[in-house]
């Protein structure tokens, strides 16, 4: 069965299909949830529990999504945000442009961190964590979850063009950092 058929079967009350959907997406939901709220694993698991039980309860009223993973990640994010907003005022999401000025020049801390890193993968990971959180999230959704820009925009609550801009800025920033540190990274790049 492909995912569309699994989803339809689940909507009709097929528990096996429901369980399969869970197994197919649980790890992706976990890692995405943890990337949003690193502090608490049990909180993320609670939210995933809530998403799935809500799905089951409302199964005959749902529409069939084009992309199940996108649907589940979005539902998870909504749930997380909903619960967080009740507990405390979260950092209000700044406009994307606010962050850019803070990351103009590679700083001494970054250079040191890159030299301490023991392999290329760690160095590259460190570069990515230099980016503003929403740019990092956009990169993960595009390059790991393979979502399109409509979907990324929906999850990040912006339009499709803004979603593209996030990825654009992230890629440009990484490119310039890799050039600045070309000796450390030893990647073949242009001038």
């Amino acid at each position: 069965m492909n995912e569309q058929q699994l989803w339809q079967a689940f909507q009709k009350g097929d528990e096996g299909a429901y369980t399969q959907l869970y197994q197919l997406h649980i790890k992706a939901m976990y890692r995405y949830g943890m990337s949003l709220v690193a502090a608490s694993e049990s909180f993320v698991l609670d939210c995933i529990h809530d998403v799935f039980t809500e799905l089951w309860a409302k199964r005959d009223r749902l529409s069939a999504p084009d992309n199940v993973r996108y649907y589940l990640l979005k539902a998870l994010k909504n749930r997380i945000m909903h619960l967080l907003e009740r507990k405390e005022r979260p950092l209000t999401p700044l406009q994307e442009t606010d962050y850019d000025t803070l990351w103009e020049e590679p700083d001494a801390d970054l250079i040191e961190a890159l030299e301490i890193a023991t392999n290329q993968q760690q160095r590259l990971q460190r570069l990515i964590t230099q980016l503003p959180p929403r740019q990092q999230e956009a990169l993960k959704l595009r390059f790991v979850e393979n979502m399109n820009y409509d979907q990324i925009g929906a999850i990040l609550a912006v339009n499709q063009q803004s979603a593209k801009n996030l990825v654009f800025r992230a890629v440009e920033k990484l490119r310039s950092l890799l050039i600045s540190f070309s000796v450390i990274f030893q990647l073949i790049f242009w001038v």
Partner: protein, 366 residues
């Protein structure tokens, strides 16, 4: 018509869906397209390869995120919690759920009334009957916690009880057969003893093993019983005293297989488990090492054979159609279903799980 790729910068490529999709999940069509384009526009090659390098760098930097670990134990426990919540909220057919402003509060109302109705209608669960019938003294273990509870049996076998589950056995244990009674869900790791078969009675099902690892799920309120095998073999059959003496009609399960017994229809359905694991084989005379699952221009029949061997699951496909197809991919750490998807995407095929096997439909190469 595609964009003017010959005017693209490396960053432009990374924002282009056709380019990114090809890097993430290459297909014969996309491979042909880009090979073609590179030949037609040799001046664009440098930029294109820079884009590939940049993309690989991003993927490497996100590797830690992509590989975030989540233990199988946690996955199972969470699923158990979800299923229990769903079972409790099963509404009676006629009642319309309350319109929820805050759905948590409304759900707890449904919970209370739901359980009342359910208890009134349900006959005595099978587990209670079996336990009451034991004449000798009984050992029982209950798990009231929210995580798994480990129970050691006198023969050295280990039972890990899921939340809200119970297991009991007669004492002394294992004189002729090693028999336990289960209500709920548990994972069993049974010590090998050919002389004394290990029997798990759970609702209407009996699972018989010699020595192996498997999971049985049989809650009183659910309408199916499930048995899932991780290693070794088990035989699963319907517990009907009249038939048992003659022949036991049941199901033999191998690793990565599971059976669902429908308590209403008395039917067994054999399936592949939701998340097949690579099977660990005891030392045999042939050297069996786990394949690396990294392929470069590898013939697809070889890939499929390695998948079959690693997971112990039969995969049927059109050998003629796919004989000359090749695959280039790194599938390390991908779940079994994703490995299959990658193979199918490469040749434009689909797959189905039928009766404990994988059937690949269609597919061809250029």
């Amino acid at each position: 018509m595609h964009p003017a790729y010959d005017t693209f910068t490396a960053t432009d490529f990374l924002l282009d869906d056709a380019f990114v999709d090809h890097q993430l999940v290459p297909t014969p069509q996309s491979t042909a397209f880009w090979a073609d384009w590179l030949e037609t526009y040799p001046q664009g090659q440098t930029t294109w390869y820079q884009a590939v390098t940049l993309m690989r760098a991003i993927e490497q930097g996100l590797y830690g995120y992509a590989q975030t670990q989540l233990s199988e134990e946690t996955v199972r426990q969470l699923l158990g919690r979800i299923q229990q919540t769903n079972a409790r909220h099963k509404p009676a057919p006629v009642v319309r759920p309350l319109h929820r402003v805050w759905w948590l509060a409304a759900a707890s109302l449904v919970l209370v009334s739901g359980i009342g109705l359910w208890l009134y209608k349900q006959p005595v669960p099978v587990y209670e009957q079996q336990r009451a019938a034991l004449n000798e003294s009984v050992r029982e273990y209950t798990n009231d916690t929210r995580t798994g509870k480990r129970v050691g049996l006198p023969d050295g076998s280990v039972v890990v009880l899921a939340p809200e589950s119970r297991v009991s056995y007669a004492h002394p244990f294992g004189q002729k057969n090693r028999t336990v009674y289960l209500s709920g869900e548990a994972t069993f790791a049974v010590t090998k003893n050919a002389a004394r078969p290990f029997l798990v009675y759970a609702n209407e099902i009996v699972t018989k093993v010699l020595g192996t690892r498997f999971i049985v799920r049989a809650f009183a309120g659910e309408d199916s019983v499930q048995v899932q095998v991780q290693s070794g073999q088990v035989a699963v059959y319907h517990d009907q005293p009249a038939l048992m003496a003659n022949k036991q009609q049941g199901v033999m399960l191998l690793p990565n297989q599971q059976v669902v017994f429908n308590r209403q229809s008395d039917q067994f359905t054999k399936q592949i488990v939701a998340l097949p694991q690579i099977v660990v084989r005891p030392a045999s005379h042939e050297r069996v090492t786990t394949p690396s699952f990294i392929y470069t221009d590898t013939p697809i029949p070889q890939v499929i054979q390695e998948l079959e061997l690693a997971y112990g699951i039969d995969i049927r496909y059109d050998k003629e159609a796919l004989a000359n197809c090749q695959l280039t991919s790194s599938m390390v750490n991908e779940p079994f279903a994703n490995k299959l998807r990658i193979v199918c995407a490469t040749v434009g095929a689909t797959f189905d799980r039928i009766d404990g096997q994988i059937i690949i439909n269609g597919g061809s190469c250029q």
